[in-house]
């Protein structure tokens, strides 16, 4: 059976060039970069070289780059770190309603520590409402953290306009970013987990924002913020692509998915009701 991995927001295979670049340090070269003895030299040089190249790429100074173990760590460090550093200037931060939980929970933690946080709503497409954002900014706002590209529905924010709103006001913008090729659907009358299980039995990996697929049995906060009705959010299906996916992979999905949808709809009382309504009955 063909195996097609389309859940790259969850995790994605290592890029071969990354593996290649890292192999020497995983295999042969070891040592703590802080060490005085010369086991530390090669790792230290490698890290400083990476820092300098990254700084060059984004136009910053090398010492402004801090490496962490993950996106979650980075968001925690950036938001809590900035809040702590600038608290003399103000104690208000702004996020959007569709942030990753590492941002939302950092904001909640700060609220417990005496900061104020505003969550700006989004429209039906997941775009941050710029007028609401403008209104949310106060004299004491120090950080605005908004996800540049949403990993769940693929919405790309108008980050230049957002930056303009912040310019000259002493506010630090924090654009969280992560976007694989993203195809997000709601397939009415059927539930996400059931789709995922059947897709998996055909060798296809995808994900869903339905309540039943979450541990907390809550629909995705992103879909909820977009005011997608709960029964529609329940039918969410998300494909996120990687570079190795082929045209044939996608064709296989396009062949496999419709019979799965049919099969679940035949089972669905909501679909039966819909059909009855359509044919004019009650």
């Amino acid at each position: 059976m063909r195996r097609v991995y389309l859940d790259n927001t969850a995790t994605t295979p290592l890029h071969p060039e990354v593996l290649e670049a890292m192999l020497p340090y995983l295999r042969d070269i070891y040592g703590n970069p802080q060490s005085i003895h010369n086991w530390g030299d090669a790792p230290r040089e490698a890290i400083e070289d990476a820092r300098a190249r990254l700084a060059d790429l984004i136009g910053s100074r090398p010492e402004e780059i801090i490496f962490t173990g993950s996106g979650t760590e980075s968001n925690n460090l950036a938001i809590k770190g900035l809040a702590q550093a600038y608290q003399a200037r103000g104690k208000h931060i702004v996020i959007s309603a569709i942030e990753h939980f590492s941002v939302i929970h950092s904001a909640k933690t700060l609220e417990k520590r005496g900061f104020a946080a505003t969550s700006v709503p989004v429209d039906g497409y997941g775009l941050v409402k710029l007028d609401e954002l403008a209104k949310s900014i106060r004299e004491d706002t120090i950080v605005v953290s908004i996800v540049h590209a949403n990993g769940e529905v693929g919405t790309i924010q108008n980050i230049e306009e957002i930056a303009k709103l912040l310019k000259g006001r002493g506010i630090v913008g924090h654009p969280d970013n992560r976007l694989p090729g993203n195809a997000s659907f709601c397939i009415e009358f059927i539930e996400g987990e059931a789709m995922l299980m059947l897709l998996s039995s055909w060798g296809i990996a995808a994900s869903s924002g339905s309540a039943c697929t979450s541990k907390a049995l809550k629909a995705s906060h992103v879909l909820t913020a977009m005011r997608i009705p709960p029964e529609i959010a329940q039918s969410s299906l998300l494909f996120t692509l990687m570079r190795d996916n082929t045209e044939e992979d996608i064709e296989y999905v396009l062949e496999t998915l419709p019979p799965i949808v049919d099969r679940l709809r035949q089972m669905s009382p909501l679909y039966a009701k819909f059909l009855k309504k359509q044919s004019g009955g009650r």
Binding site: F189, I190, E191, G192, E193, A194, L196, M197, S200, S201, S210, A211, C212, T213, K215, L217, P230, E231, Q234, Q266, M267, S268, P269, L270, Y271, A272
Partner: protein
């Protein structure tokens, strides 16, 4: 995806008794699309026995497996016996359910009970519901 027992997977992949009964003697609907899963049970009653049980379900793997096993457990039983199909029995029959899927087993038993209630009230008989107090969310 939660880790489901072989029995749950079997009933999810090959659900028994899916469908509607056109001239059902009782229909029971439980849950609603707003809180998640939804089930509709259809029953046929002959000599106080469930001669046919069918269902339609909008929901996750557990919800579909639960409806399937409940329909199987209820078939051929007397109304009194069918009333004794509890969420705990349903979960046991499925070789267990993941913790956060237990609400699905409530739904199945409740929908069946509602179908029996519906039958009794149509017959003009007293309805003595044994529905669980604990509602799913």
């Amino acid at each position: 995806m939660p880790v489901y027992s072989d029995k749950v997977m079997d009933h999810f992949m090959n659900p028994r008794n899916v469908g509607e009964i056109e001239d059902a003697d009782g229909i029971g609907e439980e849950g609603n699309p707003v809180c998640g899963d939804m089930m509709t049970f259809y029953i046929k009653v002959n000599d106080s026995r469930l001669s046919d049980v069918k269902f339609k379900t909008f929901g996750c793997g557990a919800a579909i497996a639960v409806s399937s096993i409940v329909s199987e457990m209820a078939r051929g039983k007397t109304l009194e016996e069918a009333r004794k199909i509890t969420p705990a029995l349903v979960a046991e029959e499925l070789q267990g359910l993941p913790k956060n899927k237990h609400h699905c087993s409530n739904l199945g038993a409740q929908a069946l009970n509602k179908a029996i209630d519906d039958y009794l009230s149509k017959q003009g008989k007293p309805v003595k519901t044994r529905r669980r107090e604990k509602r799913n969310g």
